[in-house]
């Protein structure tokens, strides 16, 4: 077994579990949330035990014990405890992170932090954990019965672990340890006869069975719960003290091991006397011979018949089992794949698309209709493969959003601003590579909103707003882009202050020439910050320009909508994917350009002009449409052809015409970045390779419009917004 790989899996799973735990911690009201937290800690503990990660096991165990008390209802989940458990969650995450970095033992600081947290957890524990459980008496066949002096009747637990429990991260030893916290184990007999010899032995399979005698005062349900996580796969029999002989006999018969072998164990555990055993085995055998149905009697019926357990408990337990089964039935089957593999696949599909386009081009030059047909079919399949491959990389934004619950809560608490976070459109999907690059800018924006946007409680009350601030994260698709909004109901942007600051910093020379939108956009200038006090959250002026740059890198844009006193909405508009898009190919002189098809509204011949050509406006069926000549913007050499074409594009609310020489039609575009050398290039979003092998350039429409606007200042006031 590759332990390193298994450990990696453990680390990934632990992080996922911790995420789930955090989510539950932030909404701890429901019992399902408490259960989820308990399960998370429990599973981490179990898996960590498998790797011998004692610090994690020890810590998780204590947290689990506290969670268990919450679960049992004997401990209230008050905000203090929630905070403490959150801290414990962070500590666990830290431990896992250190493990990830190859530090199994953990750094001294982390260990100290862990000890401090354990000390804080202590008051929540019912009893201080027993310093050391009494040593387990391991009864083997050689041991002498007279050594066992106490004659107390015990619970008898018989368990045959399922073969897969090790793989599921369970450690049989942890169950014993846990049982010791419930009472003392008086007898323990490991059953190893399922253990195969030599080559058949699989170290990842569990072959262990245990016969346990437990001296405890707890209820049956408590003992059953110990084995909750292995119940489905394992055979477990729990027999209360002073049960009838038949019950033990039933146990003996239901289990695969030899009757006498088990009988002896039970005799040693003082559950049966040798005489009982002998008589019982004799009679039972006879009974079975007479009536073959005995074998089929279920444990449940026996338990009820013998009135060991009230029927209600059994019904409840059965119901629970059924529910658990139903749940697994509906579960979406998920395969975990390394992200790099997916990236590689998408890269390959990109190459396939290009190669397909080449084949298409060549086929079109020939005259063989069969080749044409074959390439057409191939092309369709490639398109489907492309869509499927890309959809593999699509993930829901919800996971990213929910991480903000914690941040909003923590930051809000730190600043004394209670804030309600509303999440909408969590199921909106976008490319994983975009999501990854989006979380930092989102973080900045959210922190900014809390820090600067939302006012303090006093101010809010004075302004007649609810004391609790509201922040919302929203995601939705809009004409081929994904839009992500971060909205707060805070004070909005103070334009006077922004302007004053910008003048002070020398960012603006002539304040009177700026529109409201220009002023708002000043916040994205490098080195701009209006915060009166620099806090450790934001206000150092490194935020928004970084955000802008990150979004630019994703070929996205940012809009700000702000109302003084009422709040601010930041709107990110991002492409759905960074890999392959549908493009519309156009030509200017010898160069080919690609416009993202989602932005293309229509194509027409240039004209008629509104007033004169110099205005760069055309009359589009009665509407005013500003246009730009690609050859002018890009300073292309050569003569303007007699007949020019316009591609009408829409971005957000802005509509404009792009004038080109030739229209070439739709084209599957595999986006290839232009590289570091072209980082300053304006109006281009990347490049792509055509079927002919030539390189075409992908137009960055929003930037292009911006570029045209700055070049032709006269155009600006007329750039109309068409709704």
């Amino acid at each position: 077994m590759d332990l390193d790989q298994a450990k990696q899996t453990f680390i990934i799973e632990a992080h996922e579990l911790l995420d789930a735990m955090e989510e539950s911690l932030l909404a701890p009201e429901s019992s399902e949330a408490v259960n989820a937290m308990f399960r998370a800690v429990h599973t981490i503990k179990g898996s960590a035990g498998l790797f011998g990660l004692d610090p994690i096991v020890r810590f998780a165990h204590t947290v689990e014990s506290v969670m268990d008390r919450v679960r049992a209802g004997s401990l209230a989940f008050d905000p203090d405890l929630v905070n403490l458990i959150l801290a414990c969650h962070d500590h666990l995450a830290q431990q896992i992170s250190e493990l990830q970095e190859g530090d199994d033992a953990g750094s001294p600081e982390t260990i100290a932090e862990g000890d401090a947290l354990l000390a804080r957890l202590l008051p929540y524990l019912e009893t201080v954990p027993r310093p050391a459980a009494p040593p387990t008496t391991l009864v083997t066949h050689e041991s002498h019965p007279h050594e066992e002096e106490d004659d107390q009747p015990c619970w008898h637990i018989s368990i045959r672990f399922g073969p897969d429990i090790l793989r599921q991260g369970m450690d049989p030893l942890s169950f014993l340890r846990y049982l010791q916290t419930l009472g003392s184990i008086t007898h323990l007999t490991p059953l190893l006869d399922r253990l195969p010899a030599g080559p058949d032995f699989d170290p990842e399979r569990c072959y262990l069975g245990l016969e346990i005698d437990l001296d405890t005062k707890v209820e049956r349900q408590v003992i059953e719960d110990v084995f909750e996580f292995v119940r489905e796969d394992s055979q477990i029999r729990i027999i209360p003290p002073r049960s009838k002989v038949e019950e033990y006999i039933q146990l003996i018969r239901e289990l695969p091991e030899g009757d006498h072998y088990l009988g002896e164990i039970l005799v040693k555990g003082k559950c049966l006397t040798p005489k009982d055993l002998e008589e019982a085995l004799g009679t039972q055998r006879q009974e079975a011979f007479e009536d073959g149905t005995v074998q089929g009697r279920m444990l449940g019926t026996i338990v009820i018949q013998d009135q060991a357990v009230p029927p209600a408990v059994v019904a409840a337990a059965l119901d629970k089992q059924k529910k658990a089964k139903e749940k697994t039935g509906h579960e979406v089957k998920v395969v975990k794949v390394q992200a790099e593999k997916l990236d590689r696949l998408v890269d390959l599909v990109g190459e396939l698309v290009i190669a397909g386009a080449t084949a298409n081009t060549l086929a079109a030059q020939g005259t063989d209709s069969r080749v044409l047909e074959a390439t057409a079919i191939l092309g369709k399949l490639v398109e489907e493969i492309r869509d499927n491959a890309l959809s593999l990389r699509m993930v829901q934004i919800g996971e990213t959003f929910s991480r903000f619950r914690r941040i909003v809560r923590d930051v809000g608490q730190e600043l004394g601003k209670p804030i309600e976070l509303e999440i909408r459109g969590a199921e909106t999907e976008l490319d994983k590579s975009i999501v990854e690059k989006l979380s930092d800018p989102l973080m900045h924006v959210v922190r900014n909103s809390i820090d600067h946007g939302i006012e303090s409680q006093e101010v809010r009350r004075a302004r007649g707003k609810p004391a609790t601030g509201s922040l919302s994260l929203n995601a939705f698709h809009e004409s081929g882009s994904i839009v992500i909004e971060v909205a707060d109901d805070g004070g909005g942007l103070n334009k006077q202050r922004i302007l004053a600051k910008a003048v002070e910093r020398g960012l603006v020379q002539d304040p009177s020439s700026l529109t409201d939108q220009d002023i708002t956009n000043l916040i994205f200038e490098p080195g701009f910050s209006t915060a009166d006090a620099v806090s450790n959250l934001s206000g150092r002026g490194v935020g928004m320009d970084v955000v802008k740059r990150n979004i630019d890198e994703l070929r996205g844009t940012i809009e700000v909508e702000t109302y003084e006193g009422a709040g601010t909405t930041l709107r990110f508009r991002l492409p759905l994917t960074l890999a392959i898009i549908d493009g519309f190919r156009v030509g200017v002189e010898d160069t080919f350009y690609v416009i993202p098809l989602d932005m293309v509204i229509e194509c027409l011949d240039l004209g008629p002009f509104l007033e004169s050509e110099q205005n760069h406006l055309i009359n589009l069926r009665g509407e005013v449409l500003p246009f730009l000549r690609l050859r002018e913007v890009f300073e292309t050499r050569g003569a303007v052809p007699a007949r020019e074409r316009v591609v009408v594009v829409q971005f957000g609310e802005l509509r404009a015409g792009i004038v080109v020489d030739r229209l070439m039609g739709e084209f599957q575009t595999v986006i290839k970045p232009l590289g570091e050398l072209f980082r300053s290039v304006k109006g281009l979003g990347g490049s792509t390779i055509l079927g002919s092998g030539e390189v075409a350039l992908i137009l960055d429409v929003p930037q292009l419009i911006q570029l045209a606007v700055t070049r032709k200042h006269a155009l600006q006031p007329r750039l109309s917004t068409v709704s």
Partner: protein
Amino acid sequence: MAEQLQMNKRQNQALVAAKATQRNQYLTFTLGGETFAMEIRFIREVIQFGGLTIVPLMPDFIRGVINLRGAVVPVIDLSVRFHRPPTEPTKRTCIVILEVGQEDNLATLGVLVDNVSEVLEIQGEDIEPAPSFGSSLRSDFIQGVGKVGGKFVIILEVNQVVSVEELASLAANRGAAEAIEA
């Protein structure tokens, strides 16, 4: 054309053979009638000039981009980089594909040269340090001057000549200068 391809093929084979040893191996080429050399370790391959796409609004030393087996690779006009007139493509014009930069951040780019000559071995004792003056080239572009068959060839400091950092900021400055003009 076929002859040219054949030549490129031979050169590439020589490159592969030379790369195996790597030591003291230099590729010589001509540019504006002058012979230059580059260390083999930077060179990935030599291809024939063609299929160039012009990237608009870029300074003249960036001739455009080409498709190198699915990768989009920028092409630098070395002559313009040396403040000489742009290279006029002929049948013998080649693009030398280079890999420059640090281990973890390698950039692939092509340089335009008039003609690729041969792979040479120049021993250390035959290489003089760069002259501090008297050359039309920026001194940091010159790694040394090699003596080959009684003639001198300038060995280029590849990481300086095609420093992506410097080229990118030059390109950015052009954009900024235009913005001010406008």
